[in-house]
Subunit: 136 residues, 6 copies
């Protein structure tokens, strides 16, 4: 039997601005444009977590999506939702919260919590038009 992937979609709302403190104000403005506005803006993030493995003969599941959903809720949503990602989110301390960097941070949070024989992938939608997938 080949491997199968399960997907679980969750949701959080957060504020951020894009800013690299090692660059000048002018460089930040040139690179990030209005995403560099000093008082933050925000998004409805759609987070999709993909877990790949074999179907368990007893349960018919790769992994119980309720368990997966609870892990995401406790370790990601409770940390990111209704927060400012530049100021309030410990796993992003010192990290510029681009969609890429937020997705990688979420991967790094969840990877140790998912059994090692299961593959993990994160899809993070910042808007309907911009999203990322890690690892690709």
């Amino acid at each position: 039997m080949e491997r199968i992937a399960i997907y679980r979609r969750e949701h959080f709302n957060a504020a951020h601005r894009l800013h690299n403190p090692d660059l000048s104000a002018a460089e930040n403005q040139r690179i990030y444009g209005k995403c560099n506005n000093p008082n933050y803006h925000g998004h409805n993030y759609d987070l999709v977590v993909r877990v790949t493995g074999h179907v368990d003969k007893v349960t018919g599941y790769v992994m119980d999506t309720k368990v997966l959903s609870d892990l995401i809720k406790i370790h990601v949503l409770d940390v990111f939702d209704h927060r400012n990602m530049n100021m309030d989110v410990e796993p992003l301390r010192g990290i510029n919260p681009t969609t890429e960097n937020v997705a990688i941070a979420i991967y790094n949070i969840l990877r140790p919590l998912i059994a090692g024989h299961l593959e993990l992938k994160i899809l993070l939608h910042e808007t309907e038009r911009n999203y990322v997938e890690y690892p690709a």
Copy 2:
């Protein structure tokens, strides 16, 4: 011939927090919960503008949606997009940016810009699950 409504959907991203300065910190927390978090959170707002009138015999339009879209862009999106609605948006000065109040502010911006014989309605989606319609 009966009247017909046209709808134009636009989009902006903004930060906000819900807070009434006339209330105590405890009351703000009780009423707004995590929406009162001090460092802001944010949303992808979907803005739908509805204009109702008769079809023009020459153009076949109630109103040119390109003109409507430009009005929304200049007077709403350029003012709200990638901004903090508690700090940066002049039409919301002193107004608690609940979805209701933001929709009413957008209506008040657009109403004088749309010909008086045309009816105007605002639908504002804060998330997939919460949205408002003004006037109802």
Copy 3:
């Protein structure tokens, strides 16, 4: 100030079949087709609740959507979700669970729970292609 409507979208999954016990098997089959299949089928129902009133000066809300969501959860979702609407749902006892009848039943559940000065409307989506609105 004119009235404003707030919308809250919720979700439940349920089984049903369409069947009128006062009709013959042949008439049920003619009217309901495959929706009359004896062992049930099911849907992901999208429930949108619309509440209309004036914005409260203190809160900036027509009604706290968290309160509305909790009312829907306790009185509708906990009663309908993952249930068989022909067998398990008390408010539908003796009622043929067409989308129309389910929407009216949900309206009758929620109407006494929402303040009388607020208007209430139910939108119930059975599929992406079929939905109803009550009252119209």
Copy 4:
């Protein structure tokens, strides 16, 4: 018992250009812009038909959505789908196919086919961002 509305969503793909033969080429270009391009462009139209009335005591339906769907299929989709609305669609002969005018034409096709005691409304989506509702 109050009235209830049922909605049925259907879909067709068609080509068109916007052009008023009573206007000059320059005026057509000024009013319609790229929608006036001579060799046509096209859309995936989402058509939503709304029928309002009372629930039938025997069937639990306002109107059988299968019957409604068949009427739409025979009288609208078979006439508009995969056609050029400037050249191939008889009910649009001599009519500039703006979204407004197409919606009104569909209303005029369906109105005589739906029982007179039922209210009829057409929603026609030309894109995710532009749609109309007739009558408003």
Copy 5:
């Protein structure tokens, strides 16, 4: 020329419950929760079939999506739609209808019907939040 994938999205509605007859009632309840409710619940399933190969020089197609759609209709939709997947669907006899197991069953139905040089993949959405992909 590299290979290209085509996707075809279809839809069916079905009832099910999750239950492993080799486990006790208590174990079934612990593992499946409300998905184990005895009288079934149901879903609107979105089925996406992905076929990968080279573009045919004559037709410009990997495979005619009309042919693919007809295969899905006859061999999947006519078997699963408006049915109870625990009782009525022969390809699931003795199989616990988790999303994983349903997707694998659909793959096994379609694999012999698609030319062997074309790769096949099934995406099955049980809800907006839960879906699977086989093979991963």
Copy 6:
């Protein structure tokens, strides 16, 4: 660090018909059905461009989506949008505009414009039900 993919969704509207001039009228009709109608039909195309690489340490980006969006706008949207793909679009000259062939043409336009160390993939949605991915 592993590679990450960014996605950018854009949109255009175009007319086309499917027709191979090397085949007889009867063969074209048999293969393409109503998609062969002589006066064209059209679609709202959703174009998703996926670019894969490593995150830049300075910007936190794989590639600036604003730059990617501008490339797509200038080299694809300005060429395809509101055009007839059989008559007006130079990169499709002599090419039958099936979804497969349009996606490959868009890939061939964008590939030289994206840095060579970045992987490129095109997803093109012709309707909600039919879409392609190149390379697969």
